[in-house]
Amino acid sequence: MKEPRIIVCAKQIPDPEAPFSNVTVDVEKKEVVVDAPDVISPYDENALEAAIRIKEEMGGKITVLSMGRKVSDTVLRKTIAAGADSLILLEDPLFERLQSRSVAYVLSCAVRKIGDYDLILTGRQAGDWDSGQAGLILGELLGIPSISLARSVKVEDGRVVVEKTVPVGYEVVEATLPAVVTVSNEVGELRYVARTKMLALLRRPMVIPKWGTKDLALDAEKLKKVHLVELSPPADMRRECVFIEGATPEDTAGKLASVFKELR
C-alpha cells in the first residue's frame, strides 16, 4: 500500500503533573491558574509515539494538528523534533473554551482541509479537562470508524489493526482506513528528544501554518463555548503526616515495621 498519511491531534496544556500546591483556583475569574510550564498533553504524546513507530516501519508522513488558545510553537515543535513532519496550528479567538463537540467540529474542518489522510491518532483524553470526547466525535463527524484506548496501533493493507485495552485484557480489532484511533499510555512514552536537537530545531526558521475560522470552511454559528457556572477548589485532601525517623535506615525500617504491625 502507499505510505500512510497520519494526522496526530495534540493539545498544549499546563503541565498536568504539576504539584497540586502549584495549582490555584481563581473563583472570581473562574480560572484554574497553574504555576508550571505548558506541555503537550501526555496521552497525545503517546499518540505521537504510536504514529512515529508506524512511520518507522512503513514510511509516510505525520502532520500534527493543534488547537487552542495561545498555542506556543516552541512547546509543539517538540513533535517535529521527535519525528513528525509538519505542524499546523488552529488559532482563533473563536476557538477559545469551546465545548467538546465544537472542538471536534473545528478539527474535522481542518482534517477536511488537509484532505489526504489515512489515519488520525489522538490521546484518549486531554490532561486538563479529561473529557475523552474529541477523538470519538471527530470519527462521527467525518463518518469514519473510530477505535478507542489503543495499546498498540499497526497499519496493514489499507486497514488499521489495534490492540485495544478492555477490562479483561485486550481485544484485537481492525477497521478499514481512514479511521480514528484514540491512544492510551500503554503504548509507551514519547521517545526522548535530546536537548541539543530541540535547541537546533528552535533556532531553525520554520513556517508553521496557522489556520483560523477564515481558513477553514466552517460555520462559526456552530461553535459553542463552555458555560461555566462556577469553579471551586476541591475538598481538602490533606492529612497530618507523622514522619518516622531513625538513626540509620535499618532503625527507620524497624520503626516502620511496628507501624505496619499496628495496621492489622
Partner: protein, 327 residues
Amino acid sequence: MSEVLLLVEAKDGVLDNKTLELMRGGSDLARESGLDASAVVVGHETSALAESVDSYGLKKIYRLEHPLLEGFKPDAWVSALEWLCKQVSPKIIILSHSFVGKEVAPRLACRLNGELTADCIDLRIDPSDGLLIRSKPIYGGNAIAVLKCEGFPQIVTVRKNAFEPMEPVGEKSEVVEMAPGLDESMLRVRSLKTVREDVAELDKASVIIAGGRGIAEKEDFEMLKALAGAMSKTHGKVMIGCSRPVVDKCWMSSDHQVGLTGSMIAPDAYIAIGISGAIQHLVGMIRSKKIISINTDPGCNIFKVSDYGVVGDYKEILPTLVKKLEE
C-alpha cells in the same frame, strides 16, 4: 419527552454495582424534575439482566435485543441506543463513566445533537429551565467545574461513588422489548479476538503497595513484591499497584495503575513508594484508610496526604522492613 434514561451495565453477567448508583442518581433527578426514570438494557438474551433491575421503582425497562448486540461492540451499541433515543426522546440520559460509558456516550451525544459532560460527580436540575447542573473535576481534580449545556437531550457520564447505590423498592417496572434495526454493515470495527489476561483487580485488595516514577529500575519492583509477600501473611490480600509513569515505561500493565485513568480504590492501607503525588494519582487512592509513603523528597505532595511518611531511599528501607515483618 418525559424521561430520565439510564444505561444498565453488567459485570460478569450480573448487574454492575455502578448501575445501582446510576439508578439512585437517575431516580433523584427524575423526582426533582417531575420526570420518570427508566432504564435501557442492551444485548442479546438479556431477560435475566432486565429482571435484575425491575424492582427498583423504575417506570420502564427497555430491552434492546439483537444478536449483534452480544458482547460490547461499540458501533452496534451506539446505533441501537441512537435508535431508542430517537423513538422515546429522553430528556436526560445518564451513563456510568465506565469502559462502556466512556466509549458510547460521546458518540451517542454527537448523534443526538447533545453536549456530553463526562465524569460528573454531582448532578442537579436547574428549576428555571430544566437543564442539568453538572459538577465535574478538572485539571485532574485540582478544581471542580460546574457546567450547564443548552438543549435536549441532556447527557452525562457519572463517576463511580457519586451516588449511593439504590435499594430495591418492590415496585415492578414495565419491561418493553424492542428490536432495533441493525445490520452487519453498521459494524465498521471488526473484532478479531479478545485475549484474556490475568488482570489485577485492585479493588479487591486490603493493602496496595504502589511504586512510581521514583522506582529506579524495573527489577526494583521485586522489593515491593517481597514486601507484599511478607504482609500477605498477616494483612489479608496484598496487591502491587503503580502510578502512570510506570505503565508508560511498560514496566507494568495498566490494570495495576491507580488514579484518574486507572483504578480508584479505597484499601485499608496504601503504601506509596517513590510516588511524588501528582493529583491524577491522588484522586485514585485518597479514600484509602491509611496512607504510608516512602520518598526521598521531603517536600513532595504525597506526604501532604499521608498518615505516615519516611524520607529516605526505598532501597535502604525495604529489605530491612521485610526482614522485620517476617520476624
